[in-house]
Symmetry: C2
DNA sequence: GTTGCATTTGCAACAATGTTGCAAATATAA
DNA sequence: TTATATTTGCAACATTGTTGCAAATGCAAC
Protein backbone atom coordinates (compact mmCIF):
# COMPACT_ATOMS: atom_id res chain seq x y z
CA UNK A 1 0.00 0.00 0.00
CA UNK A 2 1.49 3.30 -1.14
CA UNK A 3 0.13 6.79 -1.49
CA UNK A 4 -0.63 6.43 -5.20
CA UNK A 5 -3.08 3.63 -4.50
CA UNK A 6 -4.80 5.80 -1.96
CA UNK A 7 -5.15 8.74 -4.33
CA UNK A 8 -6.57 6.50 -7.01
CA UNK A 9 -8.99 4.84 -4.63
CA UNK A 10 -10.32 8.19 -3.44
CA UNK A 11 -10.11 9.88 -6.84
CA UNK A 12 -8.04 12.69 -5.44
CA UNK A 13 -5.23 14.56 -7.15
CA UNK A 14 -1.85 13.40 -5.95
CA UNK A 15 -0.39 16.75 -4.93
CA UNK A 16 2.96 17.07 -3.24
CA UNK A 17 1.57 18.25 0.07
CA UNK A 18 -1.13 15.60 0.29
CA UNK A 19 1.41 12.99 -0.64
CA UNK A 20 3.79 14.19 2.07
CA UNK A 21 1.05 13.86 4.67
CA UNK A 22 0.02 10.38 3.57
CA UNK A 23 3.62 9.22 3.30
CA UNK A 24 4.35 10.37 6.80
CA UNK A 25 1.33 8.52 8.15
CA UNK A 26 2.19 5.38 6.22
CA UNK A 27 5.73 5.54 7.51
CA UNK A 28 4.93 6.19 11.15
CA UNK A 29 2.31 3.44 11.32
CA UNK A 30 0.58 5.03 14.28
CA UNK A 31 -1.93 7.83 14.71
CA UNK A 32 -0.36 11.29 14.67
CA UNK A 33 -1.70 14.65 15.69
CA UNK A 34 -2.18 17.42 13.17
CA UNK A 35 0.61 19.28 14.95
CA UNK A 36 3.06 16.43 14.70
CA UNK A 37 2.46 16.27 10.99
CA UNK A 38 2.35 20.01 10.47
CA UNK A 39 5.59 20.66 12.30
CA UNK A 40 7.39 18.15 10.11
CA UNK A 41 6.05 19.68 6.92
CA UNK A 42 6.28 23.36 7.89
CA UNK A 43 9.64 23.84 6.19
CA UNK A 44 8.48 22.21 3.02
CA UNK A 45 5.04 23.77 2.62
CA UNK A 46 3.16 26.91 3.38
CA UNK A 47 0.95 26.88 6.46
CA UNK A 48 -2.12 27.53 4.33
CA UNK A 49 -1.34 24.73 1.95
CA UNK A 50 -0.93 22.28 4.77
CA UNK A 51 -4.22 23.22 6.39
CA UNK A 52 -6.07 22.89 3.13
CA UNK A 53 -4.50 19.59 2.19
CA UNK A 54 -5.15 18.16 5.61
CA UNK A 55 -8.76 19.28 5.59
CA UNK A 56 -9.29 17.65 2.21
CA UNK A 57 -7.91 14.33 3.41
CA UNK A 58 -10.24 14.47 6.38
CA UNK A 59 -13.25 15.46 4.30
CA UNK A 60 -12.73 12.61 1.89
CA UNK A 61 -12.19 10.26 4.83
CA UNK A 62 -8.72 9.27 3.71
CA UNK A 63 -7.86 9.79 7.36
CA UNK A 64 -10.01 9.70 10.46
CA UNK A 65 -9.96 11.52 13.71
CA UNK A 66 -9.31 9.99 17.11
CA UNK A 67 -10.30 12.35 19.87
CA UNK A 68 -8.32 12.03 23.09
CA UNK A 69 -8.33 13.96 26.28
CA UNK A 70 -6.64 17.32 26.74
CA UNK A 71 -7.44 18.83 23.34
CA UNK A 72 -5.27 16.15 21.83
CA UNK A 73 -6.62 14.80 18.57
CA UNK A 74 -4.84 12.17 16.55
CA UNK A 75 -5.44 10.94 13.02
CA UNK A 76 -5.14 7.52 11.45
CA UNK A 77 -5.39 6.38 7.87
CA UNK A 78 -8.63 4.82 6.77
CA UNK A 79 -12.12 5.56 7.95
CA UNK A 80 -13.79 4.54 11.12
CA UNK A 81 -16.45 1.88 10.78
CA UNK A 82 -19.12 0.89 13.26
CA UNK A 83 -18.08 0.50 16.85
CA UNK A 84 -14.56 1.72 17.20
CA UNK A 85 -12.20 1.13 20.07
CA UNK A 86 -9.09 3.22 20.55
CA UNK A 87 -6.39 2.49 23.05
CA UNK A 88 -4.19 5.22 24.50
CA UNK A 89 -1.10 4.11 26.37
CA UNK A 90 -0.48 6.33 29.39
CA UNK A 91 3.17 5.38 29.27
CA UNK A 92 4.29 5.75 25.64
CA UNK A 93 1.42 8.08 24.72
CA UNK A 94 0.76 6.15 21.55
CA UNK A 95 -2.67 5.41 20.21
CA UNK A 96 -3.90 2.29 18.51
CA UNK A 97 -7.09 1.40 16.72
CA UNK A 98 -8.16 -1.89 18.25
CA UNK A 99 -9.72 -4.28 15.77
CA UNK A 100 -12.47 -6.24 17.35
CA UNK A 101 -15.32 -8.40 16.19
CA UNK A 102 -16.94 -7.94 19.55
CA UNK A 103 -19.96 -5.67 19.68
CA UNK A 104 -20.57 -3.81 22.90
CA UNK A 105 -23.91 -2.59 24.14
CA UNK A 106 -24.57 0.01 26.79
CA UNK A 107 -27.33 0.72 29.24
CA UNK A 108 -29.08 3.93 28.28
CA UNK A 109 -32.18 5.73 29.55
CA UNK A 110 -35.50 4.62 28.04
CA UNK A 111 -36.15 5.72 24.48
CA UNK A 112 -32.54 6.54 23.60
CA UNK A 113 -31.25 5.12 20.34
CA UNK A 114 -27.62 4.59 19.34
CA UNK A 115 -26.03 5.58 16.02
CA UNK A 116 -22.38 5.35 16.80
CA UNK A 117 -20.15 4.52 19.71
CA UNK A 118 -16.71 5.74 20.42
CA UNK A 119 -14.67 4.00 23.05
CA UNK A 120 -11.38 5.27 24.33
CA UNK A 121 -9.45 3.07 26.70
CA UNK A 122 -6.50 4.44 28.58
CA UNK A 123 -4.01 2.14 30.15
CA UNK A 124 -0.66 0.50 29.60
CA UNK A 125 0.17 -1.36 26.42
CA UNK A 126 1.93 -4.70 26.48
CA UNK A 127 5.28 -3.31 25.38
CA UNK A 128 5.40 -0.68 28.12
CA UNK A 129 4.26 -3.21 30.70
CA UNK A 130 7.12 -5.53 29.77
CA UNK A 131 9.65 -2.71 29.95
CA UNK A 132 8.42 -1.83 33.44
CA UNK A 133 8.99 -5.36 34.76
CA UNK B 1 -26.66 23.66 45.39
CA UNK B 2 -25.34 27.15 44.64
CA UNK B 3 -21.95 28.48 43.70
CA UNK B 4 -21.02 29.45 47.26
CA UNK B 5 -21.26 25.84 48.38
CA UNK B 6 -18.98 24.85 45.54
CA UNK B 7 -16.35 27.45 46.40
CA UNK B 8 -16.40 26.38 50.02
CA UNK B 9 -16.14 22.71 49.15
CA UNK B 10 -13.16 23.31 46.90
CA UNK B 11 -11.59 26.00 49.11
CA UNK B 12 -11.44 28.42 46.22
CA UNK B 13 -11.95 32.16 46.35
CA UNK B 14 -15.34 33.16 45.09
CA UNK B 15 -14.30 35.67 42.46
CA UNK B 16 -16.81 37.31 40.16
CA UNK B 17 -15.57 35.59 37.03
CA UNK B 18 -15.43 32.12 38.54
CA UNK B 19 -18.86 32.65 39.98
CA UNK B 20 -20.23 33.73 36.60
CA UNK B 21 -18.91 30.53 35.02
CA UNK B 22 -20.33 28.27 37.72
CA UNK B 23 -23.65 30.09 37.76
CA UNK B 24 -24.00 29.67 34.05
CA UNK B 25 -23.28 25.96 34.28
CA UNK B 26 -25.68 25.51 37.16
CA UNK B 27 -28.36 27.39 35.27
CA UNK B 28 -27.96 25.58 31.95
CA UNK B 29 -27.96 22.16 33.54
CA UNK B 30 -26.15 20.64 30.60
CA UNK B 31 -22.53 20.45 29.51
CA UNK B 32 -21.33 23.55 27.70
CA UNK B 33 -18.28 24.22 25.60
CA UNK B 34 -15.64 26.70 26.68
CA UNK B 35 -16.72 28.85 23.74
CA UNK B 36 -20.34 28.89 24.71
CA UNK B 37 -19.39 30.07 28.17
CA UNK B 38 -16.70 32.45 27.00
CA UNK B 39 -18.93 34.17 24.46
CA UNK B 40 -21.52 34.85 27.11
CA UNK B 41 -18.99 36.33 29.50
CA UNK B 42 -16.85 38.22 27.00
CA UNK B 43 -18.67 41.50 27.58
CA UNK B 44 -18.39 41.19 31.31
CA UNK B 45 -14.80 40.02 31.67
CA UNK B 46 -11.44 40.30 30.00
CA UNK B 47 -10.40 37.42 27.78
CA UNK B 48 -7.39 36.76 29.97
CA UNK B 49 -9.44 36.67 33.12
CA UNK B 50 -11.86 34.20 31.65
CA UNK B 51 -9.11 31.85 30.49
CA UNK B 52 -7.44 31.91 33.86
CA UNK B 53 -10.64 31.39 35.80
CA UNK B 54 -11.71 28.57 33.56
CA UNK B 55 -8.35 26.88 33.83
CA UNK B 56 -8.49 27.07 37.61
CA UNK B 57 -11.92 25.45 37.72
CA UNK B 58 -10.67 22.67 35.53
CA UNK B 59 -7.46 22.20 37.53
CA UNK B 60 -9.34 21.93 40.79
CA UNK B 61 -11.80 19.56 39.12
CA UNK B 62 -14.77 21.74 39.84
CA UNK B 63 -15.65 20.98 36.24
CA UNK B 64 -14.69 18.11 34.00
CA UNK B 65 -14.08 17.76 30.33
CA UNK B 66 -16.15 15.76 27.89
CA UNK B 67 -14.36 15.28 24.61
CA UNK B 68 -16.56 14.98 21.55
CA UNK B 69 -15.86 14.72 17.90
CA UNK B 70 -14.93 17.70 15.72
CA UNK B 71 -12.72 19.58 18.15
CA UNK B 72 -15.78 20.07 20.26
CA UNK B 73 -15.12 19.79 23.97
CA UNK B 74 -17.82 20.29 26.56
CA UNK B 75 -17.59 20.73 30.29
CA UNK B 76 -19.83 19.59 33.11
CA UNK B 77 -19.81 20.37 36.80
CA UNK B 78 -18.32 17.78 39.09
CA UNK B 79 -15.52 15.38 38.42
CA UNK B 80 -15.55 12.24 36.44
CA UNK B 81 -15.45 9.03 38.42
CA UNK B 82 -14.64 5.54 37.22
CA UNK B 83 -16.17 4.40 33.98
CA UNK B 84 -17.97 7.33 32.49
CA UNK B 85 -20.54 7.24 29.73
CA UNK B 86 -21.44 10.34 27.79
CA UNK B 87 -24.34 10.59 25.41
CA UNK B 88 -24.36 13.05 22.50
CA UNK B 89 -27.67 13.59 20.77
CA UNK B 90 -27.18 13.97 17.02
CA UNK B 91 -30.43 15.88 16.86
CA UNK B 92 -30.34 18.46 19.67
CA UNK B 93 -26.54 18.36 19.98
CA UNK B 94 -26.78 18.18 23.74
CA UNK B 95 -24.55 16.07 25.90
CA UNK B 96 -25.45 14.14 29.02
CA UNK B 97 -23.41 12.29 31.58
CA UNK B 98 -25.12 8.93 31.91
CA UNK B 99 -25.11 7.57 35.41
CA UNK B 100 -24.72 3.84 35.41
CA UNK B 101 -23.90 1.16 37.91
CA UNK B 102 -23.01 -1.12 35.04
CA UNK B 103 -19.34 -1.85 34.53
CA UNK B 104 -18.21 -2.55 31.01
CA UNK B 105 -15.20 -4.59 29.98
CA UNK B 106 -13.50 -4.63 26.63
CA UNK B 107 -11.49 -7.12 24.64
CA UNK B 108 -7.91 -5.93 24.37
CA UNK B 109 -4.71 -7.47 23.02
CA UNK B 110 -2.75 -9.69 25.42
CA UNK B 111 -0.90 -7.88 28.17
CA UNK B 112 -2.80 -4.62 27.94
CA UNK B 113 -4.06 -3.14 31.19
CA UNK B 114 -6.83 -0.59 31.65
CA UNK B 115 -6.70 2.53 33.82
CA UNK B 116 -9.64 4.49 32.58
CA UNK B 117 -12.38 4.18 30.02
CA UNK B 118 -14.19 6.88 28.19
CA UNK B 119 -17.31 6.00 26.31
CA UNK B 120 -19.09 8.37 24.00
CA UNK B 121 -22.39 7.26 22.55
CA UNK B 122 -23.94 9.21 19.72
CA UNK B 123 -27.57 8.77 18.87
CA UNK B 124 -30.98 10.29 19.46
CA UNK B 125 -32.24 11.13 22.92
CA UNK B 126 -35.76 10.28 24.00
CA UNK B 127 -37.05 13.82 23.71
CA UNK B 128 -35.88 14.24 20.14
CA UNK B 129 -37.20 10.82 19.19
CA UNK B 130 -40.66 11.75 20.51
CA UNK B 131 -40.63 15.04 18.62
CA UNK B 132 -39.78 13.19 15.41
CA UNK B 133 -42.78 10.87 15.70
C1' DG C 1 -16.24 47.33 60.10
C1' DT C 2 -11.24 47.89 59.19
C1' DT C 3 -6.79 46.27 58.05
C1' DG C 4 -3.31 43.44 55.77
C1' DC C 5 -1.96 40.21 52.45
C1' DA C 6 -2.22 36.93 48.98
C1' DT C 7 -4.71 36.26 44.95
C1' DT C 8 -7.10 37.78 41.01
C1' DT C 9 -8.22 41.13 37.51
C1' DG C 10 -7.69 44.08 33.39
C1' DC C 11 -4.73 46.03 30.22
C1' DA C 12 -1.16 46.26 26.79
C1' DA C 13 1.83 43.96 24.10
C1' DC C 14 2.86 39.99 21.98
C1' DA C 15 2.92 35.17 19.97
C1' DA C 16 0.70 31.64 17.73
C1' DT C 17 -2.81 29.89 14.92
C1' DG C 18 -5.93 29.80 11.40
C1' DT C 19 -8.45 32.17 7.19
C1' DT C 20 -9.25 34.65 2.72
C1' DG C 21 -8.42 36.46 -1.99
C1' DC C 22 -5.72 36.14 -5.74
C1' DA C 23 -2.13 35.25 -9.18
C1' DA C 24 1.13 31.69 -10.43
C1' DA C 25 2.12 26.82 -10.55
C1' DT C 26 0.68 22.09 -11.04
C1' DA C 27 -1.90 17.65 -11.95
C1' DT C 28 -4.50 15.15 -14.96
C1' DA C 29 -7.25 13.95 -18.87
C1' DA C 30 -7.95 14.67 -23.70
C1' DT D 1 1.43 18.81 -25.71
C1' DT D 2 -2.33 21.37 -24.56
C1' DA D 3 -6.40 22.86 -22.01
C1' DT D 4 -8.64 23.28 -17.73
C1' DA D 5 -9.78 22.76 -13.18
C1' DT D 6 -7.48 22.47 -8.98
C1' DT D 7 -3.92 23.50 -5.84
C1' DT D 8 -0.18 26.30 -4.14
C1' DG D 9 2.23 30.21 -1.93
C1' DC D 10 2.01 34.74 -0.49
C1' DA D 11 0.31 38.79 1.80
C1' DA D 12 -2.83 40.60 4.70
C1' DC D 13 -5.85 39.87 8.16
C1' DA D 14 -8.74 37.83 12.01
C1' DT D 15 -8.90 35.11 15.90
C1' DT D 16 -7.16 32.95 19.83
C1' DG D 17 -4.37 32.41 23.57
C1' DT D 18 -0.21 34.05 26.66
C1' DT D 19 2.77 37.02 29.68
C1' DG D 20 4.18 40.77 32.85
C1' DC D 21 2.65 44.07 35.76
C1' DA D 22 0.02 47.50 38.40
C1' DA D 23 -4.49 48.08 40.37
C1' DA D 24 -8.46 45.87 42.37
C1' DT D 25 -10.60 42.35 45.04
C1' DG D 26 -11.61 38.50 48.36
C1' DC D 27 -11.09 36.92 52.71
C1' DA D 28 -9.36 36.09 57.23
C1' DA D 29 -7.75 38.15 61.46
C1' DC D 30 -8.44 41.70 64.33
Amino acid sequence: MNSSDIFKAFKLKKTTCRKAIIDMMLKEQKPLSEHEIKNQLMNEFDRTTFYRSFKTLEQYKVIHKIVLDKQEVKYALGHRQGQHVHFFCNSCQNVQCIETTQSYSFVLPKGYTVDETEILIKGICNQCRLVAL
